[in-house]
Amino acid sequence: MTGTWVAWLHYWLTGGLLLVGLYGMLAAPHLVRKLMGMNIMQTSIIIFFLGLAAKTDATLPIVPTDDPAPAAAAYINPLPHALMLTAIVVGVSTSGVALALILRIHRHFGTLDERDLLSKLRE
């Protein structure tokens, strides 16, 4: 598989997903849509990291009892999995804080559209 363009397809797809999220954050005028763009970017970064953990012909990082001397090439890298597990939970809690802020903005200004918010802030 190495040497062909297929070996880099994973990076292009996750990069494309990141660009979708980036464009959503930049172009969407609605704050909830910006938050959705941010979550898409987070997801793409998580998939990118999990792809770095992959090894050809390796299995899940769970060592059975009957394998006394596990070889590093036989199990995929557990480190990105542990890091991304925490990243997912942090992403959930940052989404919670962002939604709370959005709720407060809507309660105060009555709108979530960026252009209306800017014109109301200038008054």
């Binding site: 769970i62 597990l85 939970v89 959930v92 919670g96 709720l103 309660r107």
Partner: protein, 147 residues
């Protein structure tokens, strides 16, 4: 949640599913060291099982963890984690060095115990925080309606 949006179908499904979701959460937390799973996943499952009932039945369900109890749950989870980390200091170990206390002869058994304790702490904290954030976003949104 003041108004539930449950129908007969949703309520029957939630009634059937919720106990199994909670049981599976306990399984995922307790087997986190020997199979896929762990504190984060189990805590999220536990919160999801409770939120399923809360969403379908609303306030009258009388079968939920309120915001005050959720806050206590989250605090106790973080304190359990930090407390397990502090315990080895009394026997001259470093922070989070589980095999310093002379509980068992086998240091690996002590590390398993410390790992499971930390997973439980993480699960409590995650479940409490998710219930708390849900309550904050869903229940307290409109100050005019809730006196």
């Amino acid at each position: 949640m003041k108004q539930p949006f449950g129908s007969a179908v949703l309520e029957a499904a939630a009634r059937l599913l919720a106990p199994f979701v909670l049981l599976f959460a306990a399984y995922v937390v307790s087997h986190g060291h020997s199979s896929p799973g762990g504190g984060f996943q189990g805590g999220v499952l536990f919160a999801a099982g409770l939120l399923l009932v809360k969403l379908t039945r609303g306030d009258p369900s009388q079968w939920e963890i309120g915001p005050r109890a959720a806050l206590v749950l989250a605090c106790s989870g973080v304190l359990l984690f930090a407390g397990i980390g502090l315990l080895p200091l009394a026997w001259g170990g470093s922070y989070l060095d589980y095999d310093a206390p002379p509980l068992f002869a086998d240091p690996v058994a002590e590390r398993v115990l410390g790992t499971v304790g930390i997973e439980v702490g993480v699960a409590l904290a995650v479940a409490g925080i998710i219930l708390l954030v849900f309550d904050a976003l869903a229940g307290w949104g409109e100050p005019e309606r809730s006196a």
